[in-house]
């Protein structure tokens, strides 16, 4: 497909095998990339405009450039493959279908930041990807794409898979580092940022799977080639995960700035039969919900922000008119309450209280005051939590009440959710 980068080899049968991958141009970026000076490589990625694909959207080349040059400590690269943002399921496919593309990107990234060691942190539930990536690493070592003096370039890189054990908070990069060091997955105070003091207090860069999967293509084809897609501030393509009430849920790689309704109606086959669009969570559960009337926008960082939400991890959850928005908030707050690490009070207590109130509203109706009480709690959490987990846990509550306050009020008047009473769950 002309508009695909990281999925461009997905149609090739068994591309996860090294021979097939190499036969289709795989690892061809190494000769060029590993003979470039690290700074040149960083400049190239900066010029491409590639932004982190994990959720925060921070410019990748800029992040790499934060690694100090004057340190005697070893540098590390960590690939965050702990995919667990509700609505997001692209990294699993990227690893299962084309693991060598990720390794190739990691080898280049290691060279750019002066790291000889990289870890791929895969969530423990992903047994398939853990095995597939492990096998790919084994193959790459056997053929000299990993280890000492890669392809005669003098560059050494070792990579290993590290299995996670079930905790969403690893998406927060410093919590991931703690858990890679064998600790509870609690976030660290920043600064210092990981680029200066990360894994084993050494300079560490943490990048998402999709971010790293783009690197070999940028090295092969150049920054301008990458920028032919998207906009000035949203360069390249993006894998959008579409789930919920659509006819064809799945991962679709599209140029950034593709109209959001095209994604829903053409790629995902439209809202499920006979129903109409009510709301969309455009970028994973950590971003505000958009009502249907605000969805006529382009899918890029700046347009979604202007509409009042964020592109985030590009996990798009589509909801039709049958969806109860109190139930949506209750479901997502339940998630954050479970995943809160408990380190800071606003998040630990806030997520628990929000859930208790939403649960009351949903099951027995609660009281009219509860709606403003919820907003008061969110106000006490917003910007006051130790890490982004707490701050983002309020999104579905704040945007839910903003756009569908009448539904919350109806729950109070009706003594709970009518729909839930009908469905029996």
């Amino acid at each position: 497909m002309a508009n695909e980068i990281v999925f461009s080899r997905n149609h090739i049968d068994n591309v996860k095998d090294l021979d097939v991958y190499v036969g289709n141009g795989g690892y061809s970026s190494l000769q060029k990339g590993l003979t470039m000076a690290p700074d040149e490589l960083i400049e190239l990625v900066k010029a491409s405009g590639l932004r982190g694909r994990g959720g925060a959207g921070f410019p990748t080349g800029m992040k790499w450039s934060f690694v100090p040059k004057d340190t005697s400590k070893p540098h590390y690269l960590v690939c965050n493959a702990d995919e667990s943002e509700p609505g997001t399921f692209k990294d699993r496919q990227l690893m299962e279908v084309n693991p060598h593309q990720l390794l190739e990107g990691m080898i280049l990234a290691c060279h750019a930041i002066g790291a000889k060691t990289g870890f791929i942190y895969i969530r423990g539930e992903f047994v398939g990807p853990i095995q597939i990536v492990s096998r790919a690493i084994e193959q790459a070592y056997a053929r000299g794409y990993l280890g000492k003096n890669i392809q005669g370039t003098g560059v050494d890189v070792d990579l290993a898979v590290h299995p996670g054990a079930g905790a969403y908070i690893w998406g927060e990069e410093s919590a991931l580092l703690n858990s890679l060091e064998g600790q509870r997955g609690l976030p660290r105070l920043k600064p210092p940022f990981p680029a200066v003091s990360g894994l084993y207090a050494s300079p560490t860069i943490i990048n998402n799977v999709e971010t790293l999967a783009n690197i070999s293509h940028i090295v092969n084809n150049g920054a301008d080639w990458f920028k032919q897609w998207g906009t000035e501030r949203s360069a390249g393509t993006k894998v959008v995960s579409i789930s919920g009430h659509v006819n064809r849920p799945g991962n679709y790689e599209v140029p950034l700035a593709t109209p959001m309704m095209t994604l829903i109606n053409e790629f995902a086959g439209g809202v499920r039969d006979g129903h109409k669009l009510k709301a969309v969570i455009p970028g994973g559960s950590s971003v505000p919900i958009l009502p249907a009337e605000k969805c006529d926008i382009n899918y890029d960082y700046e347009s979604i922000q202007a509409a009042g939400s964020m592109l985030g991890s590009a996990g798009m959850i589509v909801m039709d008119e049958t969806t109860c928005m109190v139930g949506v908030a209750r479901n997502l707050v339940h998630f954050y309450r479970h995943e809160s690490c408990g380190k800071c009070t606003p998040c630990r207590e806030g997520t628990d209280w929000m859930f208790k109130i939403l649960n009351e509203l949903e099951l027995t109706g609660g009281q009219m005051d509860d709606i403003d009480l919820l907003l008061d709690i969110t106000d006490n959490m917003d910007g006051k939590c130790f890490c982004p987990l707490g701050d983002t846990s309020i999104m579905s509550v704040v945007s839910g009440i903003e756009h569908w306050r009448h539904e919350f009020e109806e729950h109070v008047r009706n003594g709970g959710c009518q729909q839930r009473a009908q469905n029996g769950h």
Binding site: L159, G182, G424
Partner: protein, 182 residues
């Protein structure tokens, strides 16, 4: 309840040697213990602490933080139905109701014969296949009640000798080289 076998201890030592610092092997080590006994026993915690130069309290603290380590006995098959938003929108609630009825247990419980434990879990990262259930190392996507019944029937009557091995979660066996640069 058992201490780690010599083989498990060896595996943990091998894993630890691949990291710049031993303690990084803690999460994989807990998997080794769980593969040995089905759960992470108190004795294993003491052994792991000794091997990785930590205190048992520290190891226990880490083990209790993560959802994938079981400290108390669970069923032979652990049925994990995802309850997070995309799955709920696509009917995971019906799967949960059906499982409770069919197995006669509530979520988090184990059937009296020790065969099934049923849990609802948070996002499994497979929202495109909602509703999703994880069983061992296999994701069942776009799962219907009919398929769920077939899965349970299959496992319910399987003789013990046919039980599949638990999933291998520590992918460090027989690797030509590891993360540690020499």
């Amino acid at each position: 309840m058992a201490h780690l076998t010599a083989e498990s201890r060896q595996r943990i030592n091998d894993i630890a040697a691949r990291y710049p610092e031993k303690r990084s092997a803690l999460l994989p080590a807990l998997y080794v213990a769980q593969e040995q006994d089905g759960i992470v026993t108190d004795e294993a915690i003491i052994d792991i602490a000794e091997l990785l130069e930590a205190t048992p309290a520290y190891v226990k603290g880490v083990a209790s933080f993560y959802t994938m380590y079981y400290r108390y006995s669970v069923g032979k098959y652990i049925l994990q139905v995802c309850g997070t938003l995309s799955c709920e929108l696509c009917g995971s609630g019906q799967l949960v109701n059906h499982l409770e009825e069919r197995l006669g247990i509530k979520e988090g419980e184990t059937t009296p014969d020790g065969r099934f434990t049923f849990e609802t879990v948070e996002c499994l990262g497979a929202c495109g296949g909602a509703p999703v259930m994880l069983l061992g190392d296999k994701y069942y996507e776009k799962l219907t009640i009919k398929q769920l019944d077939a899965i349970i029937d299959d496992l319910r009557f399987k003789p013990a000798s046919d039980h599949p091995e638990p999933p291998q979660l520590v992918p460090f066996e027989d690797k030509p080289a590891g993360a540690k640069s020499t």
